[in-house]
């Protein structure tokens, strides 16, 4: 099986994210990590390879700093890492990323494409669906279980509104990984040593003959959410506090 995994780099979700002096970018000096949902995708790809043989290729598109997440994926056990690097890929428009990534994928053999169900930076969850539409292959989003059959079909369990469903589709297909799909492995020491020798392949969008087009969609501002909470603190006897809370529920929230 040829498996392609698209990975993204995001600020650690525990990090404090701040707007830089220009007002249109965040400060870059935060800890950056592989998008947690993408870790499930990498792990699942490795498991498929361990079962059927084949090759796991990591793809990352971005403006800077992608080497770290690609090296992590290689250390986990991936065979190849491709970095589509260009300054134009600094914006967070998933559709532009999908166009660039699909152009690279079209140059490669693939049976399974995996990506995270969403990037925890934008929480858009568009990439998988857009990639599948561009490649004209089936898309199964938010999977929690995946079984691949040698005759190139797949059975996947996925989250739906208020429950789960099991779907079947032919390969090649794209799946987006949800929490619960697996427990991603930590890179082993030998994996880390091997990954140091593995080279990252760099590609520019221009070499693919594409120009990422983001002219229609432009970021005009970043701001902090405003909070106008009153932060009234109640102390002392529980039942006296409860009576105060009732007043609040009746007079302000108006639900009693």
């Amino acid at each position: 099986m040829d498996i392609i995994v698209c990975i993204k780099r995001i600020p650690d979700t525990a990090a404090k994210v701040e707007i830089d002096a220009g007002g249109l970018e965040i400060k870059k000096d935060v800890p950056w990590v592989m998008n947690p949902y993408d870790e499930f995708a990498v792990e699942e790809a490795l498991r498929i390879k361990e079962k059927f043989g084949g090759k796991v290729t990591l793809l990352h598109a971005g403006a800077e700093g992608g080497e770290e997440v690609l090296k992590k994926g290689l250390a986990m056990g991936a065979d190849e890492a491709v970095y589509i690097k260009d300054r134009s890929l600094a914006a967070l428009d998933s559709m532009a990323f999908a166009k660039v990534l699909s152009a690279v994928i079209k140059t490669k053999p693939f049976d399974v494409i995996l990506c995270g169900r969403m990037g925890m930076d934008t929480a858009s969850g568009l990439l998988g669906g857009a990639l599948a539409a561009l490649l004209k292959i089936p898309c199964v989003p938010a999977i929690k279980k995946l079984t691949i059959f040698p005759q190139k079909t797949a059975l996947a369990a996925r989250e739906i509104e208020g429950g789960m469903e099991t779907v079947q589709c032919p390969l090649p297909a794209l799946f987006t990984a949800h929490k619960g799909l697996n427990e991603p492995r930590y890179p082993s020491l030998s994996g880390i040593m091997r990954s140091k020798k593995q080279e990252i392949k760099y590609i520019t969008p221009a070499s693919l003959g594409i120009m990422p087009d983001v002219a229609d969609l432009k970021r005009t501002a970043l701001s902090y959410p405003t909070s106008s909470r009153k932060s009234a603190i109640l102390k002392g006897d529980a039942s006296a506090q409860a009576k105060e809370a009732i007043k609040f529920l009746r007079d302000e929230v108006k639900i009693i």
Partner: protein, 321 residues
């Protein structure tokens, strides 16, 4: 023309559809164009009075292959239906349904696509949207020149009320074949019937300080007294006290209920980011200096296992009065 792709739950219209209609109306006024609604399914039975005064035309795009929703079939049906029609924007709820359908439409119709939008405006042919980034720690404003599929965040927009639309319901046979449905649904399992927490009016949420899974029944009791649903922090979900589907925060769901009651949740930045949209927040915590108290309108401090039962008692007494 602005199009709203509506969501169905069986034979009823999902509440998120009315919020998408409200968002659609903002664009239709701003861009001085009409507002149409389209539903996708098979043998759709909706109450006309729920919808007739909310849009110009309501299309029911039907095919037996649309009996069970898949993004590929829904995308193909809507894309073919809209291919020869004017569409400045397509609005859909940012539910699991809308989030899947949006890119499946945007790619073949060659439109931009923006997900999980919390505010919308349009003037001089430009669409302005805001969306939360980094779990709500930052708000991004984007300007869009051109056509787009936009999914709107649950509860960020009001539900559209009846207006002076003279709606007309039109059934259309969708053009679909077996090749449009490579994904087939083999089995569906419903879980407990709890509604999606992003749609709840009132949420009672528990964190690490709830100590164990059994104590979550206390939260259920408070939620029932208030007519709400139970949610949980990441710590409580990681401890196995609550399912991931009800996790609030950057790694779970971003919620915007009318009332959010945070019980024994200290308030990590990722959690606070996920509740910024709540209209009112009550915190119940042993520590008055916990970060959650600064993000709450009212902070009850002390032993949560004494405060929650006292609160339940007072709510029941107040409700009886």
């Amino acid at each position: 023309m602005i199009w709203v792709l509506g969501e169905l739950r069986g034979s009823s219209i999902a509440p998120s559809t009315f919020e998408a209609l409200y968002a659609g109306r903002i664009l239709s006024k701003g861009l001085k164009t009409g507002l149409n609604l389209v539903f996708v399914g098979h043998d759709i039975k909706i109450q006309p009075e729920a919808i007739l005064k909310k849009a110009d035309k309501i299309y029911l795009l039907e095919h037996e292959l649309l009996n069970v929703y898949t993004s590929s079939a829904c995308g193909a049906a809507v894309e073919r239906f809209l291919a020869d029609k004017d569409a400045a924007a397509i609005i859909t709820p940012a539910s699991l349904f809308g989030r899947d359908a949006a890119p499946a439409l945007a790619v073949p119709l060659d439109m931009a696509c923006i997900a999980n939008v919390s505010s919308l405006d349009a003037r001089d042919g430009i669409i302005l949207v805001k969306r939360p980034l980094y779990g709500g720690k930052i708000i991004e404003t984007l300007s869009l020149k051109g056509r787009a599929v936009i999914s709107v965040m649950p509860r960020a927009f009001k539900a559209a009320e009846d207006m002076d639309y003279d709606g007309e319901i039109i059934s259309v046979d969708a053009s679909l074949g077996e090749t449009d449905c490579p994904v087939s649904v083999k089995e569906t399992v419903k879980e407990g019937g709890a509604r999606d927490i992003t749609e709840a009016d009132i949420l009672v949420s528990g964190g690490r300080g709830m100590e164990n899974a059994e104590n979550f029944s206390l939260l259920k009791e408070l939620a029932d007294a208030l007519g709400g649903q139970v949610a949980a922090s990441r710590a409580a979900v990681d401890a196995g006290w609550a399912p991931p589907s009800i996790q609030v925060g950057q790694t779970g769901r971003t919620v915007a209920p009318k009332l959010y009651v945070a019980c024994a949740i200290s308030g990590a930045p990722q959690h606070l980011a996920g509740i910024r949209g709540a209209k009112y927040v009550i915190a119940i915590n042993k520590d008055p200096d916990a970060p959650i108290c600064k993000e709450a309108d009212l902070c009850m401090t002390g032993n949560v296992f004494e405060i929650i039962p006292a609160l339940i008692k007072e709510i029941k007494a107040a409700a009886l009065r």
